[in-house]
Symmetry: C2
Subunit: 461 residues, 2 copies
């Protein structure tokens, strides 16, 4: 076994039946995976057996879409599944080392509640909690929270920035040694440790302190996935890890170096952030077997489902367009701006029709896809890892649990043989796995000054 100067981080990205859009129809999929606790317990055990850094749950606060014909044919629109915080809390009880990362939206959950549930999960799990900060770029989610449509992109990111500041300050609102619990003297905590944060900002006003002691990790690990300019700035300032998408090595390198270059502006070092692109690996004993496996999954995709995924990514309704015609120019909208540009460029480059682009995207969505043998997949991961395009990968197995089992049983040993991956856990917290130091309270975080008067949260205006 050779040694390697850096080691790769791995996350298991868990859509219920798998990442492929038609995974739920696969013979090996548990179609009821979304509400099958045993299924998730098994996935967590497999990922922990594979020494993964973490499992990662995406989320949406609502059914995404209103095209009922398409919605009724897919399992990955957050339609009928567990809520992630409750699920990860339950999984914490049957795992001991693996990190537990949940998506929560800063647009639709008050910061006090985010800070509190994440701090509590960190205590329950012994320091394994991570928060994937999202801003919810979807009108259908907005309509579950009193809005007609999502907030503007810039507004969402300004709100997210303030939210992460408030939440970090709440996590830090008790010193690590605040709670004495001294039965003899009758002091439960040091009186001088009681410090309201009194945050008064543009979006939030929060007195504090948090009613949970400082979490075992100090602050739970913060993930972000923003690829737009404000998203990258927010990540550079506040994230411990980013979940990204890159189709090619140069795309991955560009994102990686761009992001790392921004860190010194915030007093941070490039190694203070872990870059984990998504990877969609289709594993076969031979290349032909892997390609056949992928083709069989693609055959299960209904065209309506494929088109319904492309529409919101492009930000236009494709109903008025011939699916066999070329991809139209699209106005850069309020949604995932960076994603739109990448997609149109790709259709132009490969000369794809609307339906061809839709089908090619529907399987892995915008993520990097590798179809091959365990050795080929290991080669590809190693290449990106060594080319400065990634610190690790979020593994988006096409079908679950089989895809994750195959990865753990065939790719992980190959990564270990090459010295690219741990052969045992050396710590017990997610920060330990990532090699990130536990921050002291009030350390290493540049709080932004509040901009303007607050708006009351959850109250009548």
């Amino acid at each position: 076994m050779s040694t390697h100067p850096r080691q790769m981080h791995l996350g298991a990205f868990l859509y219920p039946t798998g990442h492929h859009v038609a995974a739920w129809r696969h013979p090996q999929a548990a179609a009821d995976a979304g509400i099958n606790l045993g299924h998730y317990q098994h996935l967590a055990h497999v990922a922990e057996r594979g020494l993964f850094d973490l499992i990662f749950l995406a989320d949406g606060v609502g059914v995404r879409g209103d095209n009922v014909e398409a919605l009724s044919r897919t399992a990955i629109r957050y339609t009928g599944q567990f809520e992630p915080i409750t699920l990860l809390s339950a999984l914490s009880a049957v795992t001991s080392r693996i990190g537990l990362v949940s998506t929560i939206s800063t647009t639709y959950t008050p910061p006090y509640n985010i800070a509190r549930q994440m701090a509590s999960l960190d205590w329950i799990s012994g320091g394994r909690a991570g928060w994937n900060l999202v801003t919810s770029a979807d009108d259908f989610e907005a309509q579950n929270f009193g809005l007609d449509e999502q907030l503007a992109h810039a507004e969402r990111y300004a709100r997210a920035q303030e939210a992460v500041d408030v939440i970090s300050r709440l996590w830090d609102s008790w010193e690590d040694d605040a709670f004495l619990r001294d039965k003899e003297s009758g002091r439960y905590f040091r009186p001088e440790a009681f410090q309201p944060i009194n945050h008064k900002g543009r979006f939030f006003r929060v007195r504090g302190p948090l009613n949970v002691p400082r979490p075992p990790q100090g602050r739970p690990v913060i993930f972000q996935a923003g690829a737009s300019e404000p998203g990258k700035q927010l990540a550079a300032r506040t994230a411990d890890a980013v979940f990204t998408a890159a189709q090619t090595v140069p795309e991955g390198q560009e994102y990686y170096s761009d992001l790392k270059r921004r860190l010194p502006d915030y007093g941070r070092r490039p190694e203070d952030i872990i870059v984990m692109p998504g990877v969609f690996p289709v594993i076969g004993a031979t290349r032909a077997e892997a390609e056949d496996k992928f083709a069989r999954l693609q055959d299960l995709i209904h065209p309506e489902v494929a088109l319904s995924h492309l529409s919101p990514l492009l930000g236009i309704d494709l109903k008025d367009h011939d699916p066999h015609g070329p991809v139209p120019d699209v106005p850069m909208s309020n949604g995932h701006v960076a994603r739109q540009a990448l997609l149109v460029a790709r259709a132009r480059r490969d000369n794809l029709s609307i339906l061809e682009l839709a089908l090619s995207m529907a399987g892995a969505r915008r993520h990097w896809q590798i179809v091959g043998t365990p050795a080929e997949i290991t080669d590809s991961l190693q290449e990106r890892f060594e080319a400065g395009a990634a610190d690790g990968f979020n593994i988006m197995s096409p079908v679950l649990p089989t895809g994750l089992e195959e990865f753990v049983d065939t790719v992980v040993p190959e990564l270990q043989r090459r010295g690219l991956y741990r052969t045992g856990y050396t710590g017990s917290t997610l920060r330990d796995h990532f090699g990130l130091a536990r921050p002291a309270a009030h350390e290493g975080f540049s709080y932004a000054e509040p901009e303007a008067p607050h708006v009351a949260y959850g109250a009548r205006a």
Copy 2:
């Protein structure tokens, strides 16, 4: 073993170290109970061994109070402990029958998020979730959510009523047979089952549907504790169970019959709601041993802590009053109106000074206290149960885990001998334990018509 026409329901009310205000200082208490998962796992196992219907977690969304001298001497101000939804989700994994009831505030959590986390907990636990609806009568909580002070009492209850309607409609937003998951035809759900609720009310606008399938219980069990007039009306219209406080048999009878009498107004039967007063049992092998146990606990109370509990209950600041003087007349304020009146009446009746009232309340707070042998405690419970003052009791053990262990080992067998309590679980859901039917979607619930235009939730006004 005699038989009895009705059987008693039991809940385990779990403050971290126990219900007595000074419990954390007791030699048998785990002072770090609030963040000690093993402690809560043990409590859940003991309660399940005792065949309890449920465990019950009170909650506050913030540290309650700003009297740091008093706060720093007590463990029951929600100062440093797990958040209840994450905790119950974790406990669901190590229990199999007992109900899991969490407090959530309709004032500070959006209804979509409440509906979703409760539905998810119900799936994760196999139908054991319960929601204790509260409106958060505390300015310190309000200040964590952008407000200067709590909303007015009537406003909170109007909001709660609308919230419970929205949440119930979200739980019902998918029919039980909506999800086909038919791999062959490719239909994940029946298209006609997709039904947005399109709620537009005074406080909330929610499109729906919920992105969780209809819960195993149909609707998780709803608890309420409101003792005021709007609280009792809300309970009569929507609650499956109420958690109440009554010092005497007549008080308990009055509340019980008053509440049950209101049910037919909403098309409900008296047996559709389970009335569970809180009980604070101090158990000893002899009466003298129990009294001594209680006295030793009372000795651990710091006067500042006792007074700080009385102040908000009375709705006045006691700093300007002689603690050895009589209890002053208090204006009926915006807080727990019904509680204030009961307290003042009691001080007048028993001729108590402020500090005497404070100390007498601080131990069990406003709940019924029984100090005696297992047989005496059983007698008292049986008396109230048979007198039409209760359908069961929420057991508020003075010190945990020992108080709950003692209750399960000594009082439960006596209740069973008298035929007053189950000798085994006969069902697997909380509704089963309560003998409450599983409601069909859209059944047996009188939705209130929205009153006026909505206010956006969590967004800029």
